[in-house]
């Protein structure tokens, strides 16, 4: 077992040392770089044994961040495209707000979503079925969407702005609707748009402050890789924390390779 009492998860006695292995490890503590080695070894072990608990956490992480990414792409890309094309009074203000949104501290977003969804909050008190409840995966998705869509929108806007504006005019003149022309320009700017999605993904897969607050880091239900990492760090299990971090990084590395493939295909 990785966390939690040995008694509760009886299935994996061989990894008890991971948690309580403090005495044994202390001899090697001279150099902290050992922790990193230990972490790499443990990560390999966990993956090799397809540890069911780790697999569950990975699944939750992917489900939460995947859903959040889809939603924030669905919001961010159109918003970014619109801001890239349109001119209106106050546009600069909106853009500055968007940029500020790129720097929303996850804790603050978490707190905000918490206050909204709380039983005594304006949304939570409605108890409506469509409102995600606190300490569920739904609430985590909401928080992550808020965190990542400004990044997606901001970079999409920059990418779209980089496309020669007369291309759009030429397409319009070929009978494209506004919508079709926008799609075509987004396709031209796909390199930047894909980077925007990658950045959005990066911002949420690694995010911890918000999911901790609104998800509650509940074992077996809302625990994700980042909150598990924090937990293990808090417990002083650095090498286990590093093992989980390596799994997280491999995941996002794999997703990025996939996205680059996609990018390569369309180019």
């Amino acid at each position: 077992m990785l966390w939690g009492s040995p008694q509760r998860r009886r299935g994996h006695p061989k990894r008890i040392e991971a948690l309580h292995g403090l005495g044994g490890e202390s001899k090697r503590r001279r150099c902290a770089i050992n922790e990193i080695w230990e972490g790499i070894k443990q990560a390999a072990l966990l993956l090799w044994h397809l540890d069911p608990e780790v697999m569950h956490i990975v699944a939750v992480s992917l489900r939460v961040s995947g859903t959040a990414l889809l939603l924030s792409a669905a919001i961010g890309i159109p918003l970014g495209a619109w801001l890239g094309f349109s001119r209106f009074v106050g546009r600069r203000l909106v853009v500055a707000l968007l940029y500020t949104g790129m720097g929303l501290p996850p804790v603050v977003v978490g707190l905000f979503v918490y206050l909204l969804l709380s039983q005594s909050g304006p949304l939570g008190s409605l108890n409506a079925a469509w409102i995600p409840r606190l300490f569920t995966v739904g609430a985590m998705v909401v928080a992550q969407v808020i965190i990542s869509f400004p990044l997606v929108a901001g970079f999409t806007m920059a990418a779209v702005k980089g496309v020669d504006p007369s291309l759009r005019q030429q397409l319009i003149s070929l009978g494209a609707t506004e919508w079709q022309a926008t799609l075509a320009v987004l396709r031209e700017a796909r390199f930047g748009v894909i980077v925007s999605v990658i950045a959005g993904f990066g911002s949420i897969i690694s995010e911890v402050g918000a999911v901790m607050l609104v998800g509650g880091n509940i074992e077996g239900s809302t625990r994700v890789l980042t909150t598990a990492i924090v937990l293990e760090t808090r417990r002083g299990n650095f090498s286990l924390a590093i093992a989980l971090a390596l799994i997280l990084l491999s995941l996002s590395f794999l997703s990025n390779i996939l996205m680059l493939r996609l990018q390569g295909k369309t180019a």
Binding site: W3, G4, S5, P6, Q7, R8, R9, L19, H20, L22, G23, E25, S26, R29, Y114, S118, Q119, S120, G121, G124, N127, L134, F135, G216, N217, I218, E219, S221, L231, T233, R234, R235, G236, F238
Partner: protein, 265 residues
């Protein structure tokens, strides 16, 4: 409850010390099985745990700060507060012990020596029960340390981080025994006051009692009040209390039972 129906959800807001030590994982499966429910642990600081309760987002809280607990009940947010267990605080510091804390009779005396020597001291500074206790000890020693001084560091961090800081900086700190024991291998810190086991702790002022409180259903109609009451009954029952004593790390218990039922046993 029939075992076939979907388990109910009981949200327990508690401190990181109880959750991270593994105590709850050790105890809870019995309760969950008996009542067909799923106890979901939200591990946060005492302050945040009480705030979660005050908003009706938790059904029951398990914390360690008697003053704040009293305020919580007095404010109408909680009902049926019960003693559950206690552990104790200890003073740790660099093994060389430059301030000569070893051998102090009380925590107040030890703190006075630290202040005298202006040896580095790390305070959690996060409004936790531990910090509240630290403040009380300083007061008993008649000292008001200034965070701007060169030796007193107010960190605003959890216990683990504070211990790491103290280890790096060669500073003293007040810690709960459980956290120190679980991190001992990572630290260059020696236990200077508190004895090897709780029963050898020379200063009764270092006791750290935990209380459980149900969130007031009159204020928050959505809470699982009946389940919360059953949880409190179960937690304070003699059998569970005995299990608390059975939970050991490195051969010694981390918590000692303390409920009314246990004491009346």
């Amino acid at each position: 409850a029939a075992p076939t129906s979907a388990p109910r959800r009981l949200i327990l807001a508690t401190t990181t010390s109880t959750a991270d030590s593994g105590l709850l994982d050790f105890l809870l499966p019995d309760f969950e099985k008996a009542h067909n429910c799923d106890v979901q642990i939200i591990a946060v600081g005492t302050g945040q745990a009480l705030a979660l309760g005050a908003k009706g987002d938790a059904d029951v809280v398990l914390v360690h700060d008697p003053d704040k607990e009293a305020a919580f009940v007095a404010g109408g947010d909680g009902v049926n507060r019960q003693d559950v267990m206690y552990n104790d605080f200890i003073i740790v510091g660099p093994p060389s012990d430059p301030a000569g804390v070893r051998g102090s009779a009380t925590a107040a005396e030890a703190f006075a020596r630290i202040a005298q020597a202006e040896a580095p001291f790390a305070s959690r500074g996060d409004g936790s029960g531990t910090e509240t206790r630290e403040k009380a000890i300083w007061q008993a020693a008649g000292i008001a340390p200034d965070p701007r001084s060169t030796w007193y560091f107010s960190l605003g961090q959890g216990m683990g981080d504070t211990l790491l800081f103290a280890s790096e900086k060669g500073a003293y700190t007040l810690a709960d025994r459980g956290s120190y024991l679980s991190m001992r291998g990572k630290l260059r810190l020696a236990l200077l006051l508190g004895g090897d086991r709780l029963d050898q702790n020379p200063d009764p002022a270092l006791r750290n009692p935990y209380g459980v409180i149900a969130v007031n259903p009159a204020k928050h109609p959505n809470v699982q009040y009946d389940l919360a009451l059953r949880f409190i009954d179960w937690l304070t029952s003699v059998e569970t209390q005995r299990r608390i004593l059975e939970f050991t790390v490195g051969g010694q218990p981390l918590f000692y039972p303390n409920s009314a039922a246990w004491k009346a046993r």
